[in-house]
Point group: C2
Chain length 77, copies 2
Protein backbone atom coordinates (compact mmCIF):
# COMPACT_ATOMS: atom_id res chain seq x y z
CA UNK A 1 0.00 0.00 0.00
CA UNK A 2 1.50 3.32 -1.00
CA UNK A 3 -0.39 5.55 1.42
CA UNK A 4 1.20 6.02 4.80
CA UNK A 5 -0.76 4.95 7.84
CA UNK A 6 -0.59 6.10 11.42
CA UNK A 7 0.46 3.49 14.00
CA UNK A 8 -3.17 3.43 15.20
CA UNK A 9 -4.41 2.68 11.68
CA UNK A 10 -1.83 -0.07 11.28
CA UNK A 11 -3.03 -1.55 14.55
CA UNK A 12 -6.65 -1.35 13.37
CA UNK A 13 -5.86 -3.22 10.15
CA UNK A 14 -3.81 -5.80 12.02
CA UNK A 15 -6.57 -6.35 14.57
CA UNK A 16 -9.08 -6.98 11.80
CA UNK A 17 -6.64 -9.27 10.00
CA UNK A 18 -6.00 -11.33 13.09
CA UNK A 19 -9.72 -11.64 13.74
CA UNK A 20 -10.27 -12.82 10.17
CA UNK A 21 -7.48 -15.38 10.56
CA UNK A 22 -8.99 -16.59 13.84
CA UNK A 23 -12.44 -17.08 12.33
CA UNK A 24 -10.93 -18.83 9.31
CA UNK A 25 -8.87 -21.20 11.46
CA UNK A 26 -11.85 -21.93 13.71
CA UNK A 27 -13.39 -23.49 10.62
CA UNK A 28 -10.23 -25.43 9.91
CA UNK A 29 -9.81 -23.55 6.64
CA UNK A 30 -6.54 -22.65 4.94
CA UNK A 31 -6.12 -19.26 3.25
CA UNK A 32 -6.32 -21.20 0.01
CA UNK A 33 -9.68 -22.67 0.99
CA UNK A 34 -11.05 -19.26 1.99
CA UNK A 35 -9.79 -17.85 -1.30
CA UNK A 36 -11.51 -20.59 -3.30
CA UNK A 37 -14.77 -20.26 -1.39
CA UNK A 38 -14.89 -16.45 -1.45
CA UNK A 39 -13.52 -15.84 -4.91
CA UNK A 40 -10.89 -13.46 -3.50
CA UNK A 41 -7.22 -13.97 -4.34
CA UNK A 42 -5.17 -15.85 -1.76
CA UNK A 43 -2.45 -13.19 -1.93
CA UNK A 44 -5.04 -10.49 -1.23
CA UNK A 45 -6.39 -12.45 1.76
CA UNK A 46 -2.85 -12.86 3.04
CA UNK A 47 -2.41 -9.10 2.87
CA UNK A 48 -5.66 -8.52 4.73
CA UNK A 49 -4.72 -11.00 7.45
CA UNK A 50 -1.31 -9.33 7.84
CA UNK A 51 -2.98 -5.92 8.19
CA UNK A 52 -1.55 -4.65 4.93
CA UNK A 53 -4.86 -4.03 3.18
CA UNK A 54 -7.61 -1.56 3.92
CA UNK A 55 -10.36 -3.96 2.86
CA UNK A 56 -13.60 -2.34 1.75
CA UNK A 57 -17.22 -3.01 2.60
CA UNK A 58 -18.16 -5.33 -0.27
CA UNK A 59 -15.21 -7.64 0.39
CA UNK A 60 -15.89 -7.58 4.14
CA UNK A 61 -19.44 -8.75 3.40
CA UNK A 62 -18.14 -11.38 0.99
CA UNK A 63 -15.88 -12.82 3.67
CA UNK A 64 -18.59 -12.75 6.33
CA UNK A 65 -20.96 -14.65 4.04
CA UNK A 66 -18.29 -17.14 3.08
CA UNK A 67 -17.48 -17.75 6.75
CA UNK A 68 -21.22 -17.75 7.53
CA UNK A 69 -20.82 -15.21 10.29
CA UNK A 70 -22.32 -11.84 11.07
CA UNK A 71 -20.12 -9.06 9.61
CA UNK A 72 -19.93 -7.66 13.14
CA UNK A 73 -18.09 -10.85 14.16
CA UNK A 74 -15.16 -9.68 12.05
CA UNK A 75 -14.89 -6.54 14.21
CA UNK A 76 -15.14 -8.27 17.56
CA UNK A 77 -11.92 -7.94 19.55
Amino acid sequence: MEISLTPEQQTDLQTFGRRLATLRKQRGWSQEKLALESGLARSYLGGVERGQRNIALLNILKLARTLECDPGELFRT
Copy 2:
Protein backbone atom coordinates in the same frame (compact mmCIF):
# COMPACT_ATOMS: atom_id res chain seq x y z
CA MET B 1 -17.70 5.10 -8.94
CA GLU B 2 -16.41 3.82 -12.26
CA ILE B 3 -16.54 0.10 -11.52
CA SER B 4 -19.81 -1.61 -12.26
CA LEU B 5 -21.61 -3.32 -9.42
CA THR B 6 -24.09 -6.16 -9.39
CA PRO B 7 -27.59 -5.36 -8.14
CA GLU B 8 -26.76 -7.34 -4.97
CA GLN B 9 -23.67 -5.22 -4.37
CA GLN B 10 -25.64 -2.04 -4.92
CA THR B 11 -28.16 -3.28 -2.37
CA ASP B 12 -25.36 -4.08 0.10
CA LEU B 13 -23.91 -0.58 -0.19
CA GLN B 14 -27.36 0.99 0.10
CA THR B 15 -28.19 -1.09 3.18
CA PHE B 16 -24.99 0.04 4.88
CA GLY B 17 -25.63 3.65 3.89
CA ARG B 18 -29.16 3.62 5.24
CA ARG B 19 -27.93 2.11 8.49
CA LEU B 20 -25.29 4.82 8.81
CA ALA B 21 -27.92 7.49 8.17
CA THR B 22 -30.20 5.93 10.80
CA LEU B 23 -27.47 5.89 13.45
CA ARG B 24 -26.50 9.46 12.58
CA LYS B 25 -30.08 10.71 12.80
CA GLN B 26 -30.65 8.84 16.08
CA ARG B 27 -28.01 11.19 17.50
CA GLY B 28 -29.73 14.18 15.97
CA TRP B 29 -26.68 14.84 13.82
CA SER B 30 -26.64 16.37 10.34
CA GLN B 31 -24.26 15.03 7.69
CA GLU B 32 -22.32 18.24 8.24
CA LYS B 33 -21.97 17.49 11.95
CA LEU B 34 -20.83 13.92 11.28
CA ALA B 35 -18.35 15.25 8.74
CA LEU B 36 -16.94 17.76 11.21
CA GLU B 37 -16.70 15.22 14.01
CA SER B 38 -15.20 12.42 11.90
CA GLY B 39 -12.91 14.47 9.69
CA LEU B 40 -14.46 12.90 6.57
CA ALA B 41 -15.81 15.12 3.80
CA ARG B 42 -19.54 15.76 3.84
CA SER B 43 -19.79 14.92 0.14
CA TYR B 44 -18.05 11.59 0.79
CA LEU B 45 -20.45 10.80 3.65
CA GLY B 46 -23.38 11.67 1.39
CA GLY B 47 -22.07 9.19 -1.16
CA VAL B 48 -21.70 6.49 1.49
CA GLU B 49 -25.24 7.09 2.77
CA ARG B 50 -26.61 6.90 -0.77
CA GLY B 51 -24.80 3.59 -1.33
CA GLN B 52 -22.48 5.06 -3.93
CA ARG B 53 -19.23 4.40 -2.07
CA ASN B 54 -17.53 1.14 -1.17
CA ILE B 55 -16.22 2.50 2.13
CA ALA B 56 -13.14 0.77 3.50
CA LEU B 57 -12.26 -0.57 6.93
CA LEU B 58 -10.40 2.44 8.34
CA ASN B 59 -13.24 4.82 7.50
CA ILE B 60 -15.83 2.37 8.85
CA LEU B 61 -13.92 2.34 12.14
CA LYS B 62 -13.63 6.13 12.09
CA LEU B 63 -17.40 6.48 11.74
CA ALA B 64 -18.12 3.89 14.45
CA ARG B 65 -15.83 5.73 16.88
CA THR B 66 -17.32 9.08 15.99
CA LEU B 67 -20.83 7.71 16.53
CA GLU B 68 -19.60 5.88 19.66
CA CYS B 69 -21.03 2.61 18.50
CA ASP B 70 -19.66 -0.86 17.93
CA PRO B 71 -18.59 -1.25 14.27
CA GLY B 72 -20.94 -4.23 14.12
CA GLU B 73 -23.83 -1.81 14.72
CA LEU B 74 -23.19 -0.37 11.26
CA PHE B 75 -23.85 -3.80 9.74
CA ARG B 76 -27.00 -4.55 11.68
CA THR B 77 -30.05 -4.76 9.43
